[in-house]
């Protein structure tokens, strides 16, 4: 019988090795899955993991898909470290797109160099305003922020549908539920010529770098970490839970709102009812895959983007049903999440009793109270 013994410090070699172990396990499990389904496993996995890296265009698409995941994931990981559970980034993303997009449509067809910054500001503020609701309800009424932010996601999606069916509908669009196409000044500049990759990816990288500095150097970042790791200790040390909750929600909400606006002003170029496609939820997984560390989040975001694009490629090239991609992705996530255990624990043969120890900080969740 084997037992897990907590490590004093996260094991550094394991920290870097576990993603590869997880990918290796996924490849083995995928081999079985594809063989059972009667598909060539080597071809399938080559299409999912390597083909998207082999062309200029699909590399650019990786940036398109990865940018919102990183931007949202970075913001969420700051809150998660502090034990503040914003599950509703998807809603803040949607509201950000609505607010920023409304600015573009409000000035239509006018514009100028100032338009895009103004839209970005409106998007970020919109996301923050939507995130302020769970923050307020938690700090004022102790309402569980997981549930409040989740419920608000549904409300936001319905609100977007309501607006593009009505107030924001394209007047020349035969009453179809979508807005006008944004004017040129309201579209994000391209990063790579001839592709859809835009400067949103640079902003995402910048956000990750800023988050790194914020968490490592600044006082509030220190507070946020203490609150997550030991809420009571934090309270004794005089840190204000209220401030932490608010700053976590403002950062994650603002970044999610910005990501939403970038999506509307970038690859989509208008407001459509189906704008939210789940980035806000996927970013939660991305945050954990990246171990709540900004640099890790960047890699995790790109990995998730790869599996999505690779899944589409596999569907096109060997008619793998999209359900298979979902199963394969689920397995990859399970292995990645499970292999984390090796970072914080050692596997030893059972025998000598050891002193109980509490779980690693990152795996904790503090309820509202």
């Amino acid at each position: 019988m084997f037992k897990l013994v907590p490590r004093r410090e996260p094991n550094a070699p394991m920290l870097y090795a576990t993603p590869f172990i997880a990918v290796a396990l996924t490849l083995i499990a995928g081999f079985g899955l594809f063989t059972i389904l009667g598909k060539d496993p080597v071809q399938a996995m080559g299409l999912i993991f390597i083909k998207p890296l082999a062309s200029y265009n699909s590399l650019a698409e990786l940036l398109v898909k990865g940018a919102p995941l990183i931007l949202i994931g970075v913001g969420l990981s700051i809150g998660f470290r502090a034990g503040v559970w914003n599950i509703g980034a998807e809603g803040q993303f949607t509201i950000g797109a609505i607010c920023g997009g409304s600015v573009a449509l409000g000035f239509y067809p006018g514009g100028g160099f100032w338009l895009l910054p103004l839209m970005a500001l409106a998007g970020a503020l919109g996301g923050m305003a939507w995130a302020a609701i769970p923050a307020l309800l938690r700090t004022k009424f102790h309402a569980n922020e997981i549930l409040v932010s989740l419920m608000l996601t549904y409300v936001a999606t319905l609100l977007l549908g309501f607006l593009v069916h009505g107030a924001l509908r394209d007047p020349d669009g035969f009453n179809f539920p979508e807005s006008r196409l944004f004017q040129d000044d309201a579209l994000l500049p391209k990063l790579l010529p001839g592709s859809r990759a835009n400067i949103g990816f640079l902003v995402a990288l910048f956000a990750a770098a800023a988050a790194y500095v914020y968490l490592e150097r600044l006082m509030l970042g220190f507070q946020a970490r203490v609150l997550g790791q030991a809420p009571r200790a934090a309270r004794f040390a005089g840190y204000s839970e209220r401030r932490i909750v608010w700053s976590s929600f403002m950062i994650s909400g603002g970044l999610a709102g910005l990501a939403g606006l970038f999506e509307a002003a970038g690859p989509v170029g208008q407001l459509v009812p189906s704008l939210p496609v789940g980035y806000g939820f996927t970013a939660i997984i991305v945050a954990f895959l990246g171990r709540l560390h900004p640099v890790g989040v960047v890699f995790a975001g790109m990995l998730m983007a790869l599996t999505y694009i690779g899944g589409e490629t596999a569907q096109i090239e060997m008619s793998l049903p999209s359900a298979t991609t979902g199963v394969f992705q689920g397995m990859l996530l399970f292995f990645l999440l499970a292999s984390d255990v090796l970072v914080n624990f050692r596997i030893v043969r059972a025998g000598k009793p050891l002193a109980p120890a509490s779980a690693p900080a990152a795996a904790r969740l503090t309820p509202a109270a």
Partner: protein, 361 residues
């Protein structure tokens, strides 16, 4: 780690071989035709029927074509990438089958002038981008006639998805068809704000039956309402595909979408080099809209009346939207003898006079 890197190396080698193989294009290579679906091919509605069309293409041309499809593509930012990938991957003709794919298709079409694109239900065209749609309202008009004939309570229940022109047109056409046989017919409408939520569709069907509807019509994609009608002993009109499997007793008929012939014709046009960018809006006459065989419950006189109505539409003697016709608020829409121009139909956002309830904005 060694095993992992070897596995990766193996994958890389396999891929390199694959790329090399696909690099050499021969003149007699099959024509690559691609389809992009918004739902799963197993939805038994919209995407399912498009996939039936794809299979018909494969059957008609055998190894002269190679078809491929991508399902569950959301209308948002993913669509453009998928279409681009198909175009870059050598597809010569690409069908994109959801209204939400309109702008992404247009963008990709501009980048790939050598590829032909066909977008369903949209209104934007280019030299290499054609559009096509079906006049579902013609089928719904006939279905309305059948429904009103079969209804004892004088109330038709209608499960609607989103208040876009397509759907509003269907409600109005069904009502106008029904009114020709029963001037007092009532139509009760529930908007479920979803194309596909079987549970909600079934609940809506139940609510309609409870409020007196004994024939159900739907403009949503799952067979849930048909199944419920079968259970509750009322009648229903199917949507998109023949749903008789789900309601062998309940189904009176079904307003089916048939893309087979259109798809085959367009693939042939590309092969012959005669393809041009067109705007097709086919109806009963073109076989794009087909009524499923009448159910056992439909008596002969009703079937005959429905066939006559259908024939009148096919011959062009009957246009469902013909004046005198007022809008719901009583204002005049069409004067005596005037038929609605397609432009009016394609932007319809009002109920006609006689339909009760409010149209959600």
């Amino acid at each position: 780690m060694n095993r992992v890197s070897r596995l990766f190396a193996g994958l890389g080698a396999a891929l390199a071989l694959g790329l090399a193989a696909s690099g050499a294009v021969r003149a007699d290579d099959p024509l690559k035709v691609a389809f992009v679906y918004t739902g799963p091919v197993g939805d038994h509605g919209w995407s399912y029927q498009h996939n039936v069309g794809r299979q018909a293409v494969e059957k008609a041309f055998g190894d002269k074509v190679k078809t491929t499809y991508v399902e569950n593509v959301s209308d948002g930012p993913d669509a453009e990438r998928v279409i681009e990938q198909l175009a870059a991957g050598g597809a010569k003709l690409i069908f994109t089958t959801s209204f939400g794919f309109m702008n992404p298709t247009l963008k990709v079409a501009k980048r790939h002038p050598e590829v032909k694109f066909e977008h369903a239900t949209g209104f934007k065209r280019a030299d290499n981008l054609a559009t096509y749609n079906a006049r579902f309202y013609e089928g719904r008009y006939v279905a309305g006639v059948v429904a009103a004939k079969m209804s004892k309570s004088g109330t038709i229940g209608y499960i609607a998805s989103f208040p876009i022109p397509e759907v509003v047109m269907g409600v109005n056409a069904a009502y106008l068809g029904a009114k020709t046989v029963n001037p007092n017919i009532k139509i009760k409408i529930i908007w479920v704000s979803s194309w596909f939520d079987p549970g909600k569709e079934a609940d809506a069907a139940k609510a309609l039956i409870n409020q007196g509807a004994d024939v159900l019509m739907q403009h949503t994609d799952s067979p849930a309402a048909m199944k419920l009608a079968e259970e509750r002993g009322v009648y229903a009109i199917g949507q998109s595909s023949d749903m008789a499997d789900f309601g062998p007793r309940a189904q009176l008929t079904s307003v089916e979408d048939h893309w087979d012939e259109y798809y085959i014709a367009r693939v042939k046009a590309v092969m012959d080099g005669t393809w041009t960018s067109t705007d097709t809006w086919g109806g009963l006459k073109d076989g794009m809209v087909v009524l499923a065989p009448y159910g056992k419950a439909v008596p002969e006189d009703v079937a005959r009346l429905a066939d006559e109505t259908k024939q009148a539409i096919v011959d062009g003697r009957l246009k469902p939207f013909t004046g005198p016709l007022n809008k719901q608020d009583g204002s005049v829409w069409l004067k005596q003898g005037e038929s609605a121009p397609d432009k009016d139909l394609l932007s319809m956002n009002f109920y006609v006079e006689g339909v009760e309830g409010g149209l959600p904005k």
